[in-house]
Amino acid sequence: METILLLVAAEEDGGLGKPALEAATAARELAARLEGAKLLAGIFGAQAGRAGAALAGAGFGEALLVEHESLARARFATDAAACQALVAASGASLVLAPATSRLQRVLAAVSARCRGAVDTHATALGAESGAVHATRWFYRQRMVGRVSRERRPWFLSLEPGVFAPHAASGDLVSRPVPAPLPESRTRVEGLRSPSSGAQTIRPDAPLLFVAGAGWCKKQADGLAHVSEAERLILGFLGKSGASLGGSKSVVDQKGEGGALSFLTHLNQVGQTGSTPRHAKGLATCCHGEEPHTVGWRFVSGRRAVNLDANCGWAQGKADVLYVADAFKVMARVNELLAG
């Protein structure tokens, strides 16, 4: 019989983030498939007590809390100690956590402390005859596998954007858990946005705009038009509210013709970049085969604008490919959006 602990961090305002609420749904659904499973929540943070309310109605027996000022911000030493205490207090055999930067930072180490096993970035959970399995991607989203383990506690982090977020209803009983929080040599100073100007990465945007290396290449007139490309792309991001991704080649670009000044490695999707989740994706001036296109593996509706009808970014991967000059198209798109 499994005891499932949902491990989440309270936000600074005492709420729970969307990935945590999604993980709550996953935990509830898994518990429903396992006969006799016990479902608990473990919350840590400076305002952990207030956060429990957001989990009400999801079938949790109770919420275990580690609440302390030093948990206001993510920091390995204190977060790991809090998580360890919650797992120990729960007696959990399965520990589920959202794969946020905060939980990902500590989960594997805590699994080692608890002499458990860990798998991360699960995109689905299931159970057959009482045996739990998880689905996750391997080799940068190039292949998908189903994993299971005998060892307990088994720690699993869940990819954000996969499950529907839980909507709270009713109350949830909570219980503080003592956790000796260690001294740390790390002092968290705060958050910093890239200094390169506008914030272009918007995980919650419905649309991902992917810029490819073609934007910086020589056009039909034999010249590169990088500043025009910058103007068009930033103009579009401003009007559409889209998040900006870049192919590896455009992010890496330098030298001849210059590169898009506002793109950093944080924007990179695919290969060694991110694989963000958005409802729609518009790829422009991208070209590449399978390894490159994993960047929009988790984008639902996909369209592309490219001069090559056989573009690997699009053929068999996009819903629609417009064989057209992206400079002209995006200029007109911006006009239409402005109008």
Partner: protein, 269 residues
């Protein structure tokens, strides 16, 4: 000026440009023609190595070790592409570790290798590696290794680590929304799982390469074999996603009309 002892852990992964296909063999899941696929040092571990090299050069007296668990022949091959780019002392573990290996089991093999490093000053230790790998992509091995080595300060998704004259480091970790969390680490030891960092790939320096190979070849020859058995990870299936979409290719449509279609599509709920 501070002195660091940087241990960089990094595995080998197939050149990301290759086409990959899973196959199940007697020893479990692997990649089709795995031994024939060109390999590289994991891209994030490579970032870590380049950052380590830069840190060591800026702080004289510092040392850099590269700990890697991989089949010897592959490791030797990858070294030739790598050894001209950064100065390091190689610690090799002869093991077949890939995307379907267990993170904790790999961490154990690496821990034994790190513990065997002569002259490593734990009070100066910075344990570097990639925050994830291009094979498992779990972000677990390095963290578990850190735990095994008793390192209580860990950072993941690091893009920058700037040492101060007093030996402290300002560390930038990637968090949601394209932002960085800024922390001040007063002193090593610490673990830093690197994202891409901020350094370009270093040029090939033949002198660095010659120097590296003097120690790397003996290290390869005495690489301890380590057999990874799966660490309790069971994979009931691995498959390529069925991903072909029926792409509608629109040619010869005026740009104005293309733009209108796109704007309408964006507006759709």
């Amino acid at each position: 000026m501070p002195v660091f002892h940087v241990v960089v852990c990094g595995g080998l992964v197939p050149d990301p440009l290759q086409t990959l296909e899973p196959v199940q063999g007697p020893a479990g899941w692997g990649l089709k023609n795995e031994s024939m696929l060109p390999a590289i040092l994991d891209p994030w571990a490579a970032s870590a190595l380049f950052e380590a090299d830069s840190l060591a050069r800026a702080n004289p007296g510092s040392r850099v070790w590269l700990v890697s668990a991989a089949p010897k022949a592959k490791l030797q091959q990858v070294l030739m592409a790598l050894a001209q780019k950064a100065a390091f002392e190689l610690v090799a573990v002869d093991a077949q570790a890939g995307g379907f290996s267990d993170a904790a089991e790999c961490a154990s093999a690496l821990a034994a290798a790190v513990n065997s490093i002569a002259g490593l000053d734990r009070s100066r230790l910075l344990l570097f590696g990639g925050w994830e790998s291009a094979s498992r992509g779990a972000g677990a091995t390095l963290a578990i290794l850190g735990e095994m080595l008793g390192i209580s300060e860990q950072f993941q998704g690091v893009d920058q680590a700037s040492p101060k004259p007093d030996g402290s480091l300002e560390i930038l970790e990637r968090v949601e929304g394209g932002r960085h969390q800024v922390s001040l680490l007063s002193a090593p030891p610490a673990l830093l799982g690197w994202a891409t960092g901020s350094l370009p790939e270093p040029p090939n320096n033949p002198q660095v390469g010659m120097l590296n190979m003097r120690s790397a070849m003996p290290a390869l020859q005495k690489a301890a074999p380590s057999r990874l058995t799966g660490g309790g990870l069971a994979l009931s299936s691995v498959e390529l996603p069925s991903q072909r979409r029926d792409t509608r290719v629109v040619k010869d449509m005026p740009e104005d009309q293309v733009a209108r279609e796109i704007v309408e599509w964006i507006a759709e709920k």
